[in-house]
Amino acid sequence: MKRYLIGAISALALTATTVAAEYPEKEIQGIIQWGAGGSTDTVMRSVTPHAEAALGGTVVMQNMTGAVGAIALNYVADAEADGYTVLMGAENPMLYKIMGLGDKDYGEFVPINILARGTPLLVANNDAPFNSYSEMIAYVKENPGTVRFGSTGPGGLPSVVTAMINAVEGELDVIAVPYDGDGPALTGLQGGAIDVMPAVLGAAIEGVRAGNMKALAVFDTAENDKLPGVEAVAEVNDGYNTYLPWGPFFGVFVPKGTPDDAVAKLSAAYAEGAKNPEFIELMEGRGFTLMGISGDEAEAFLSKWQQGTAWLLQDAGLTKASPEEFGIARPGE
């Protein structure tokens, strides 16, 4: 009897180890936080096939939209932490808690790979009476309450950039017109419904290249080689160095508690996938800055990003709850 038992246990152990060694033994479900055709979607769908090749498995990607991505985040957080459900998301979850959108953020996840970061760009309608960032600031100060800024709701990139401008330049009296995404807002900008729109470089660059809108400034510490001659805000006003570089990012995550083996394999696969020349060319063409970080480095990046952004929004009075309540320390404290 005893022998049987030992045999059975060792057999079980054997199968268990072989299963673990063979991760992935079935299809992996990749949940994309945003809709098909959006930037998160495109980035994930371009990198994943290369990662699949490195992993030797299949990742079935599926878009799960709604509630600013919180539905997808909760879905993956509630799924079994076995490495077969992966979240493909953007920066938004880092603000869920303070914006009252949810009680979970990437703190409940292990970052597999933070793939890339975008650079914010300030664009204006061609007929706007200013041609650069400095001229815009001067114009807004002389004509309070007339310039229309596009926004995408509290916590979106435009709200953070606007909060940053207000923090550095002092309160600007502009009209914030809400849109449901930067695509519709940039369309509105070209039609003259709004005058200025803070958008991620990749979304606006083709419009700027074609002369359908004009670039006022890049929100970075130095000029961007995609847009030579467009001033960098940190060079205009030193105050921006506190906050920059800043930008939305894209990353792949698994719930905490996922077996180390799976995390290691997925991280290796995505690191390999992100090195693919086609992917790099694609990302650089759209003006994204490649990061490709994982592990502790990614954790550090996430918490720094969250601290800076959360307190910026808190100081701008845009939050529902103070970052303090969730133990998010003020940067530099």
């Binding site: 371009s46 309450g145 369309t187 083709e206």
Partner: protein, 503 residues
């Protein structure tokens, strides 16, 4: 010459030709099944075609798009369940025809008219794309708002019977559309603190429930009755029929292209507006609208297929999607290493002409697949009800689940199905509910955008409306259509005509 070469790429390459055909064929069936949407099929194809070249990938997607928009009419006519939102208006007159045993004729007319509409849309895309996209960009938030009001006035045409009940149904639809987190401020509306309501109520789930499940429940009353035998002797409509409806189809196609080209509005709104237009301009229909009028089929079907060409206009000229499907296609082009945007037409004109070629081809395949296999389809309605009803239920459940892979949507769908059954039972029309859901966001978001832009000053708002010819025209259209539906109009008309007789 080079242009012609690119245009003909798809015709000369058997592989591409096959892919367009395959796509169109699949599209007709994807479109016909409620809940399986073209948007979904195309987004699945992005992953599937990742490693392909860009031409084959785009060929397949365009085939599915064209076929799918047309396919929605199939189930609308045969089962009174629109396969896609853009086929809602088709059901209004198509189903009464099928009930009379004329499903073959209805499908034939629909197919030929979709083909004509599709071609007009493609023609406008090929010849006037930059001009139309400039026009589309001129639409300000206030214009979208006026357009939405214009849409809401369609309640009058969609409510057969009591107008009051129609208005109630429309208002209900607008309320359903407002549920969930407001996309502009993220404030919760009508969610009652339930997390599952944060994402809002899926519009597709409402549509499938209201049309699919309620239809199945209604059919239960007649389980023992025999199904109507369908005449399928004459499928291809006679030249005289086509000629008779040609002027109308040109008008409704124009509506289709324009609405399709506007970012933010698509084939669904275009089809409903076209239906309303047909109802207003057709003086003496052979049969009343809602009772199987041929014009009621021609209008929405030409418009929704013309909207396909329209949706490509802002996509190709500006990199701005005209609807959900073109939004995904922009993503696909990007993945395949192109830079979709205003420079695409200048950097890669071959892509533009290739897409036009694919659309032409897909449109032809649509005609081919539409006119064949009708026999098989009409057999569906001739099935005994005891088989048909469970089948409808099954398709409804699968469809509702497939939209977001969410079981919550299935519950919503079933709930609205039962609710829709009682609405029908008490004579409340269902069309206006869907209309309300479609227009809810368009109206709400753009009204807020418009008034926020003016710092909440109504005076400035109206100054803006009257300062722009486009807004003024839209406002006048709204006022005229509204007045024409009130007794004041009839009274005024009789006064004017009476005077003429006196003199």
């Amino acid at each position: 010459m080079e242009t012609l070469m690119h245009f003909l790429t798809v015709f000369s390459d058997p592989q591409l030709l096959l892919l367009v055909g395959l796509g169109t064929f699949a599209g007709v069936y994807v479109g016909a099944i409620p809940g399986l949407s073209v948007t979904m099929a195309v987004s699945i194809l992005i992953s599937f075609t990742f490693s392909w070249d860009v031409y084959p990938a785009i060929s397949l997607m365009i085939g599915i798009y064209m076929g799918g928009v047309y396919g929605g009419s199939r189930t609308a006519i045969l089962l009174n369940i629109p396969g896609a939102p853009s086929a809602i208006a088709t059901a209004l007159d198509g189903y009464p025809m099928a009930k009379r045993g004329e499903a073959g004729t209805a499908i034939g007319v629909t197919t030929v008219m979709s083909f004509i509409g599709g071609f007009i849309g493609i023609g406008v895309l090929a010849l006037a794309a930059p001009f139309v996209s400039d026009f589309a960009l001129k639409f300000q938030p206030r214009d979208y708002m006026l357009l939405a009001i214009l849409g809401i006035l369609l309640v009058g045409s969609l409510s057969q019977g009591s107008l009051v009940k129609g208005i109630f149904a429309g208002a209900l639809g607008i309320a359903i559309g407002a549920v969930g987190r407001d996309p502009l401020t993220f404030a919760e509306r009508f969610t009652f603190d339930f997390r599952l309501m944060e994402g809002g109520i899926s519009f597709i789930a409402v549509m499938i429930g209201m049309f699919g499940v309620s239809e199945a429940l209604l059919q239960l009353h007649h389980v023992d009755k025999d199904a109507v035998r369908q005449k399928i002797t004459r499928i291809v409509p006679s030249l005289a029929t086509v000629k008779k409806h040609l002027p109308l189809s040109v008008q409704t196609s124009t509506i289709g292209v324009t609405i399709g080209a506007l970012p933010g509005t698509g084939g669904d709104i275009a089809a409903l507006m076209a239906y309303d237009h047909a109802k207003r301009v057709t003086k003496n229909p052979d049969r009343e609208f809602g009772d199987g009028a041929m014009e009621g089929l021609v209008a929405p079907e030409t418009a929704n297929n013309a909207a396909v060409g329209g949706a490509f206009i802002p996509m190709m000229t500006l990199g701005i999607p005209g609807d959900a499907v073109t939004a995904i296609m922009i993503g696909a082009l990007f993945i395949h290493g192109l830079n979709p945007g205003p420079m695409l037409m200048i950097d890669q004109p071959d892509m533009f002409w290739f897409i036009v070629g694919c659309l032409v081809m897909a449109n032809c395949f649509m005609l081919l697949f539409g006119l064949t296999g009708i026999k098989l389809f009409t057999k569906i309605v001739e099935m005994p009800r005891s088989v048909l009803i469970p089948l409808i239920m099954l398709l409804s459940i699968v469809g509702a689940f497939a939209v977001n892979n969410s079981i919550t949507d299935v519950y919503w769908m079933l709930g609205f199905g039962v609710f829709g059954y009682f609405m029908r039972h008490y004579g409340y029309p269902l069309g206006p509910v869907i209309l309300g859901v479609i227009l809810s966001r368009l109206l709400d978001d753009n009204w807020r955008r418009a008034i926020i832009s003016e710092r909440e000053d109504l005076g400035n708002f109206f100054a803006g409306v009257f300062g722009s010819p486009l807004s003024t025209v839209l406002l006048i259209a709204v006022v005229l259509i509204f007045v024409s539906q009130t007794p004041v109009w009839a009274w005024g008309k009789s006064r004017i005509f009476a005077k003429k007789e006196n003199t």
